[in-house]
Structures are given as structure tokens and as C-alpha cells.
Amino acid sequence: MAAKILEKRQLSENVFKMVLEGERIARKRKAGQFVVLRIHEEGERIPLTIADADPEKGTVTIIFQVVGKSTAHLSDLNPGDTLLDLVGPLGKPTHIEKVGTVACIGGGVGIAPVYPITQAMKHAGNHIISIIGARSKDLIIMEDEMKAVSDEFVVATDDGSYGFKGFVSQALEEKYLMQGRKIDMVVAIGPVPMMRAVCDTTKKYNVPTVVSLNSIMVDATGMCGACRVSVGGKTRFVCVDGPEFDGHQVDFRQLIDRQRIYLQEEKESYDHYCSCRLGKGGN
């Protein structure tokens, strides 16, 4: 189904928020699920987490970082433009229940997918500790939204330009786990090295940890297996068995390798797009 872009906002240097038309998806989606979109006939199928949705208005919000050709192209579109295809909601919803204290950790653009989960966990009656982080202050997104659904709130930056100086995994350990704070569950979403660092930390303290994986996908309905990942020694498909898994069981090394399959092609495609864009006098 085609979908019109209704709003667009730049959240940081390379991160954009878009509100899309998507009545059925908006009504149906639950925290943790994602959509696949295709910009135009020659386009890829791009999986993106649903950051928010408004069932009454029939809208779906996506937040994405420009990492290659397709996301660059997407960021060049404007309200009023139409995406050729939008399908969803895909993936399994997050298992939401009251467990006590939940630490919701988002790194970089990963703050976007952690937000709806935090919201749902809060709604289920959990005490929420949110830890969001990025390389520096200007890359922190959705601070107000996250604050609004948290009982305790920490910002961490690698360079110390804002809040705690260091990684989110260090903030979690130093400010909470080392202090003996009881945390019943951790949800961590962000770049793979960040999720791995959080899992290494929580393993030491035996805190169950859920991560949401963004592997390469094609159909995203369980048909192709592009997104396969080893979890506890078993091959699972991120698109239908996930995207969330027990972080202590995920083979992050393999995930990192598999995310690099098309590095060369992605660069070729991006360079091609950028030179075309310049040729047209910018956009």
C-alpha cells in the first residue's frame, strides 16, 4: 500500500522523524513491531521500527538515521510525497508485563525503538529507569518523550558533553548495578557494540536482558532467511521470531559480520546517489 508522508522533522545531524499515513498499521501495531517501506520502483525494502502511532489519526511514526543510499533518499522526501509501499506491523510485539523495575536503554537512533517499549512497560505498572546515550549532546534524541514515561532518567554521552560521561552500559553499572540497585529486567536497543556491552554487563549481575536486533532483511515475513541470527546456538529469523531476543543468548559477533555483507555495495550505491544529487544541484 502506498503511504503519504505527513510530517518530517530533523532530530539530529543524521536522524529524521517522519509521520506517515497508515491507518490499519496504526490500529494494529504493538510496542516492538516494525514496518517495511519501499520508496520507489527501484527501491529496497527498508525495515524500520514503529516509534509511535496514533490509531485515531491513522498515522505511524518512524525515526531513522541516514546510513546509506535508501535512508538518504528517504530523508530527501518531504510532507506530501508518497512512499510506494508500506507494510506492517511486522515482527513479534514486545512481551509486556509488570516485573518490577525495568531499565530501558537506548543508544543513538536506538532511542526511537526503545521509546514505545518504555511507554508500554510504564503503562503496565513498572518502575522505569531510562538511560539514553549517544556520542555527544547534539545526537541525543527524544529526551522529553523518554523523560515523560520514566521514573528515573539518565543521559550519557561518550564525550561527556551532556550528562554522564561514558557509555550507557557504564552508566547502568556505575549508577545502579554497582550500587546494589535491584533491576528486574533490562531492555537495550542501539548499535550492536552497545547492546553487546550492555549484555556483558548485565550478565555479570544476572539481570535478564532483552535486545532488539536490526539485521538485514528482504521480505521480512519469514520467507528468505536473510535476517538469521544465532540465539543460544539455534538459528532464528529476526523478522518473525524477533526482533527481540534474550541478549545473553545472541551471537553478536555473527550479527556484526552479517550486517557487513553488503558494505561495499552500500557504499557504491550511496556514492552514486550523492553524486546524482549534487548533479541535480542539491535537494
Partner: protein, 468 residues
């Protein structure tokens, strides 16, 4: 022309692209009959009173009937004659295994070669399409009944075409962004040009079928919700959309694909046109494809066209047991595919960056027949050897995608998670829900799925008309 002269005509060969040229392009391999060769070939049909060929066809096309029209030179009439029983003749003329169906039963085959029924079917369908003179039958009186068809592959398209012509309102729900199912994501352009699939789908749309793409039943809406939306019956034709792996070490290395992924990237996403199209594919120099079916043949031939230096087909049994069509095996050999028969992979070897660099295989020998009736391959001890490869495609079959089954309470499935449906009617354990094609039988052929769709459409029509 008298019978003796007709019997003396040899089977007309199909002109094809030269193997060396075609192995590096994605254009269709067989070029099609000319009107003259079609007429000549049609004369070979002796118009049996009790034609065995028709019995060999899963949808019972009146084969002597359409061939008689070719002899008269009425090619468009011949195409329309086929369309009374088969809505997708241009597809079937290309991908049906005629050699084990209609042509196997042809009387002419008893002493010599059977009539080239598939080639003639393809010819008239192409002729009609090229002429632009595609007739749309008169719209039947509406019954007021609404039918949802899940999946737009061969069985779903058949059900939709049959039911819309009986006056029902039909909507197809397709999970992907383009209709056609396996005809667009699975079968490569060089075997079935996508423009032909698009034309056959467009024909159905002109008949009144509505197609809703990017709509995943089981996610966007469930089967029960379809009934809530007001559909009176549902047909499940979701296909064999679950890749099978061998569960051997190294299968998750970079460069190892399921055939589903490899072919979907190349066919549906047009990765062979990267970077014009955005979706990439690994263009391996040394590619191994595991398996011996039609999907394996499609994969080896795709790898060659993507620019490989060596493409190996690794199959654990011998050539005689290969499930692929003889024509496809032959085409693959002509194009320079290297066959490693009686060979089975045991593990994939990776480098320090997680990329596949080799496949370790075992030699096999054939033992006693197994439950499939084929002789079981048995490993030869100590016969391990390694083939250097940078890309692997696992094409050992596909299973049942669970999305619909897991979200439809009361829908009975078997131990492989295929949907249980009556062979004659497609009726499932749920009232008003019918199923057919690969999601019932497991991965089979286009025409068998169409045959199941035909039967189900008949039963669904009865169900709809008897329902108040």
C-alpha cells in the same frame, strides 16, 4: 495433408539463445515458435477421439481443441479456447512439466516424439498478448458474495479468476509489494519474463479482481478479521514460503544464502540490475548451489548470469534422481554449470571476517530405496574434500510459512505445519476457509497449485451459493 504426411512431420525444435551468450544475460532462453512452425507442429496432433493428453493435464485444458484452431490459423481463437480452463497459458506454456503430464500421455510419443503441447500453448498465449486483442468475457451477474484470496501465486490467481467469472467479488491479499507470488520472486526472468506475469495479473484485474499488495494476513489482519470485514469465504494459497537449511556448521556465514533469498533478491528486487536497482546481491566468482530441483537449476543459472567463473551444482543423489525438469538440467549443463553428483556438503568453512571460503563435501553412493522410492544416498567413509567457494545457495526445498496457521485458531495443520485440506474441495477444518497449492501439498509445481485452485474454486462457489 493426409495422415501419413502428418505422421512424418518431425517435432519442431524450439529456437533458443546461444548458450554462451545467454549464460551472461537475463533474457528469456527459448525464443518461441513462429506462426509457421506452430502450424507445422500443430499438424502433428492426430486429434484423438479420447485424448489422453487432457487427462494428463491437472486443469484439463482441451488440448486437441486448441491445437485444431492453430491448424486453422486461428491463433487468437486457440488462446481463448485455452483460457476457458486455464487463466495463465503464457505462464504454463513455459513452466509446466509437460514431459510428465500432457506430453507424456500423447499418443505420438509412443513411437517417436510427442506433440510439443507446451510450446504451442506458449505460442498462442504470446500471440494473443502481442496482438493486443485480449478479449474480456462479459461480466456475469453479481452474486453479492465476497471472497478473500490470501496469496497471489498460481493457486490464488486461479481461484480469483474462476470465482470472479462466476460473479463473486474477489480481493487478493498479497504480502509482498508485487502480485504473482513464486512467479515473481522465485522463477527467474530468463525462464519466465516478469512482463508476462504482469500481463496475466492485469487480465485478472480487468475481469474485476481487486489486488491488495503489501498486506500480510496474520499480521496486517487475521483470517478472522477478514470475516469481520464481511468476506463470505477465504482461500489460503500462501505457498511454501519458509527456507530450509541443512543445519550443518557454517550455514550462517556471509555469502551463504537460502535459494528463497538469492532468487528473491535477483527476481523480485532486481538485484541483477544493481546499482540501477537498490537491492544488492553477492556476485560470487565461485558459487556452489546445493540441491537438484528446479529451484537449484534456477539458482545455478542465476549465479552464472551474475558473472561467476565457476558454478557448481552439488547434489547428493545421481542425475537419475534429480527432481528438476530434464530441460532445465540440460539448459544448465549447456551454460557451463559443473555438476558434483553423489556429493553432500557437511560443513562450510569461513575466514576471519565471517565469509564463506569453502564447502567440505562427502562423496555418496546409492543404497537401498527410501520412502520416496529413490535409492538412498549413503556417505563414502573418508571421502571428504573441499571445494573453494565464495557464495553458496542452499536449494534443498521450502517449508510452510507459519504466519497464517499460527494466527488462525481452529485451522488444522499436519506435522510439517502444512494446512490440512480436502484434496477434492480444498475445504479446511474451518468453515468457509479453503486452501490449496504448496501450503497444503508442500513445494510442488505451478500447475499443480493451479489445479488445486481450480477444484477449490468449484467447491467455494457451491459453498457460497448454498450459504444464506
Amino acid at each position: 495433408m493426409d495422415m501419413k504426411e502428418r505422421l512424418a512431420i518431425p517435432r519442431q525444435p524450439m529456437p533458443e539463445q546461444d548458450p554462451k551468450v545467454r549464460a551472461r544475460n537475463f533474457d528469456e532462453v527459448p525464443l518461441g515458435y513462429t506462426p509457421e512452425t506452430a502450424k507445422t507442429e500443430a499438424l502433428r496432433c492426430i486429434q484423438c477421439k479420447n485424448p489422453a493428453c487432457v487427462e494428463g493435464c491437472p486443469v484439463q485444458v482441451d488440448i486437441p481443441g486448441f491445437i485444431a484452431k492453430i491448424v486453422e490459423g486461428d491463433f487468437i481463437g486457440a488462446a481463448r479456447h485455452i483460457k476457458k480452463t486455464n487463466a495463465l497459458p503464457a505462464v504454463c506454456g513455459r513452466v509446466c512439466p509437460q514431459e510428465i503430464q500432457c506430453e507424456q500421455r500423447c499418443v505420438r510419443g509412443k513411437k517417436g516424439d510427442p506433440v510439443a503441447i507446451g510450446r504451442l500453448e506458449r505460442f498462442v498465449a504470446d500471440y494473443e498478448r502481442a496482438s493486443g486483442d485480449v478479449a474480456i468475457p462479459e461480466k456475469p451477474a453479481p452474486t453479492g458474495k465476497r471472497v478473500a484470496v490470501v496469496g497471489s501465486g498460481p493457486s490464488g490467481l486461479t481461484v480469483a479468476g474462476d470465482l470472479v467469472q462466476l460473479g463473486h467479488e474477489v480481493t487478493i491479499f498479497e504480502a509482498l509489494h508485487k502480485p504473482g507470488g513464486v512467479l515473481v520472486y522465485g522463477i527467474p526472468e530468463f525462464r519466465l519474463p516478469k512482463a508476462i506475469v504482469a500481463a496475466e495479473v492485469e487480465y485478472l484485474e480487468r475481469l474485476g479482481v481487486k489486488i491488495q499488495t503489501s498486506f500480510v494476513i496474520g499480521k496486517t489482519a487475521t483470517v478472522d478479521e477478514l470475516f469481520e470485514y464481511g468476506y463470505d469465504a477465504v482461500y489460503l494459497g500462501t505457498g511454501a514460503g519458509l527456507p530450509t537449511f541443512m543445519n550443518i556448521p557454517g550455514e550462517n556465514l556471509n555469502g551463504v544464502y537460502s535459494a528463497n533469498e538469492y532468487l528473491t533478491r535477483s527476481n523480485l528486487m532486481k538485484a541483477y540490475k544493481f546499482p540501477e536497482y537498490d537491492t544488492p546481491i553477492v556476485k560470487g566468482k565461485n558459487v556452489a548451489v546445493i540441491g537438484g530441483g528446479n529451484v537449484a537449476m534456477d539458482s545455478v543459472r542465476t549465479a552464472m548470469r551474475l558473472g561467476a567463473d565457476h558454478v557448481y551444482l552439488i547434489y547428493r543423489r545421481s542425475r537419475a534422481e534429480m527432481p528438476a525438469r530434464i530441460e532445465e538440467i540440460h539448459h544448465a549443463e549447456e551454460e557451463g554449470i559443473e555438476f558434483h553428483l553423489l556429493t553432500n556438503p557437511v560443513r562450510y568453512i569461513g575466514d576471519d571476517k565471517g565469509w564463506v571460503v569453502g564447502v567440505e563435501c562427502l562423496k555418496m553412493e546409492l543404497g537401498e530405496p527410501d520412502e520416496s522410492g529413490r535409492r538412498r544416498p549413503v556417505p563414502v567413509k573418508g571421502s571428504e574434500f573441499v571445494i573453494d567457494v565464495d557464495t553458496v545457495v542452499v536449494a534443498i526445498g521450502a517449508g510452510a510459512n507459519p504466519l497464517v496457521q499460527s494466527t488462525t485458531p481452529g485451522l488444522e495443520t499436519n506435522k510439517w505445519n502444512y494446512i490440512v485440506a480436502d484434496e477434492e474441495t480444498g475445504q479446511t477444518s474451518r468453515e468457509g476457509v479453503f486452501a490449496g497449492g504448496d501450503i497444503v501439498t508442500g513445494a510442488a509445481t505451478v500447475i499443480l497449485a493451479m489445479g488445486a485452485g481450480r477444484k477449490a474454486a468449484r467447491a467455494m462457489h457451491e459453498y457460497l451459493m448454498s450459504k444464506k
